[in-house]
Subunit: 441 residues, 2 copies
Amino acid sequence: MTATQATRKPSILKGFRDYLPEQMILRQEIINRFKAIFELHGFDPLDTPAIEYLEVLTGKAGENEKLMYAFEDQGGRSVGLRYDLTVPLARVVAMHQSEIVLPFKRYHVAPVWRADRPQRGRFREFWQCDADIAGVESMAADAEIVSVLTDCLAAVGLDNSVVHMSHRRLLERIAMAAGIPQEQAAQVYRSVDKLDKIGAEGVRKEMVEGGIEASQATQVLDTISISGSIEDLLVELSRRLQNDANAEGAIAEMTQLFQLLHQMGVPNDKAVLDLTLARGLDYYTGPVFEAKVTEPKVGSVAGGGRYEGLIGSFGSRSISATGVSLGLERIIEVIREHGTMPIPTAVAQVFVPVVDRNLGSAAELTSELRARGLKTDLSLLDGKSLGEQLKYAGRRGIGLAAILGPDEAARGVVALKNLVTGDQIELERAEIVQSIERMLT
Amino acid sequence: MTATQATRKPSILKGFRDYLPEQMILRQEIINRFKAIFELHGFDPLDTPAIEYLEVLTGKAGENEKLMYAFEDQGGRSVGLRYDLTVPLARVVAMHQSEIVLPFKRYHVAPVWRADRPQRGRFREFWQCDADIAGVESMAADAEIVSVLTDCLAAVGLDNSVVHMSHRRLLERIAMAAGIPQEQAAQVYRSVDKLDKIGAEGVRKEMVEGGIEASQATQVLDTISISGSIEDLLVELSRRLQNDANAEGAIAEMTQLFQLLHQMGVPNDKAVLDLTLARGLDYYTGPVFEAKVTEPKVGSVAGGGRYEGLIGSFGSRSISATGVSLGLERIIEVIREHGTMPIPTAVAQVFVPVVDRNLGSAAELTSELRARGLKTDLSLLDGKSLGEQLKYAGRRGIGLAAILGPDEAARGVVALKNLVTGDQIELERAEIVQSIERMLT
């Protein structure tokens, strides 16, 4: 009985969503703005399959892999749905080396799947908007990535966002300078990564529980908490980590990166040095960054960094890459809650009702409007009253109705009704298209 | 050993594809044109999950279901990847009846998955571009669908395409008039559907082998082969199927549909009556159509029709719908082979090389160009010679390079090089943005 009922009642899997027009119009507008910024920065589009060989997806991205949708296909092959867009990119670069041109700048906007526990703002199918550059070791690539990121955030009105930046090796060397052995470094990253959530005392406690000595944990926390201008911070770090060539290299890269950001016109307050930043993913090796929105405190809306080993892990020669992933779902949450950009209500700009069942007349007007690029909805309720038709258009969020009844036709005019205010004016039939164009701009 | 080798060598599943920039730029351009036409006709965007409960996807679409990617998720639920966009739409309309506004006009552009045998032009992951209208019984909806279809095809230069139209009930009544019992009707649809491929004799043979009497098969073939103008055809059909109220209803619908298409400005030669048309899908109940390209003979590039029972099969009240699905892969094939529209080669319009390692100067020029909306690629090869940098831009298909070296800077100019012809001119530094804008338009 249960099975039969389930068959009859339409439902959707937990953690998955339908995007009805009300949601989808905004989503698409945001995606289009991101794509436009990616292209403005010279990134080319790329797409890859949703399904990959399981072995392509495993052993690359630590925690995220555990959440993978893995199954056997009809041919008995072990396959999985992609859980991010970075691993497929690395596979593409390794696999198509003879076809792609390095430096390879690509963007990819697509859904990914993770069988995570669904909760507010966390879904099992969600969209990522990624931009990456492969084949450039210089910090110019990281600067381009941070620059495209700040432009994307500005394009959707996230003016209160800041890109927090650090270098994977910095935290590692700070840990080493405190005497923490290499094999415990991962514990340091994991704990420090939670600083925002659990505070300094929480991090200290977690590190100690993870086997790190209390004095060492204190020294790490002390160093990552130093404050000042970016230049001062880097100088102080340099002093504390002196005689550590590896740390000096990371500090030199960060110094150069901030200089390049300045040259590329990224405002000083939009990209800051934050030594507490420790991105979770295993594959980062150089600069790492995370865009945070200060209000509301939703945490990270984008993250990325440099990964030197991932492409080479596919057996290709080593190709260094860097990139960023914007999390569409959290960004939409911020936009909706804080109205950082206008929320479009409808696709159609004009509604043309059918008066007295004269579909021919309405269709003709519709064709004229569409020919000029005006998004026009021709009424499909030709059997209903004018009032009912206009009510329908209003419910769909369409702003204007162009009404051409026999009375208007006889007088050579078209009635134009604002469906929000109810105001109605008459315009010359011959000039209706131009008049609407003027009103909409 | 084999397993280890497979892990190291990056590969992709058979029937799946990476879309490198060279392919993706064109794909995206086509998708953008289709979306623009859908919106011009007042269709709203919709998106649904890639993964659905298995029971949502079964018992709806006949043959296509057998090719479904079905598996158990981590929670032991039986799920499947969508194999089309129509069944998810029907589920959405049935499930969200209180939220959506009828008539519901939506478009959906997304990948679908079918574990079909891969062959030339047939893939296991492919994109569909669908437009549907739910909640309108009048032929005005079907006319709007055919109208948006012909506009889409025109938007990508498929001028030699024609929409073949018929009515599901016509073929059924023609079969009945020939004395073929209802339970053998499906055999008639299946066989007649292959007329293009196997010819009249082949269809006759298949029908007979399928248990239909030879004289009956001949009568069916005779009726569907009558020719003449649409009006003459419908009159002749009416004569042959007289006293069949069901047939008369279908003929009346087709007569009205063609009148509406005329009113909506669809050219007479773009939508024709074709009684041999028998769409394969089980759920069609009214008018059906298929867009065919005459040259090259790739067959159908789009198909659709009216389905009255699908939404109701989810236990909702009965809501009639009609729609069309454009097959992106075949359409791209035709565009590429016949150059029906310009094939874009690169996203970036301008390349800015770094001369004498002066990244600051190049970055400043880049910012100016981007601020005016010019898609600009800032060189990441700042350690390489100017020649090598320009060669890179050329390989990526970028058409122009704006060169600002110390010599140009001293003279207050920028050198603009056409990377296709090699021609180079000098332009005033202060007017470079406007000059490039003029050249590109």
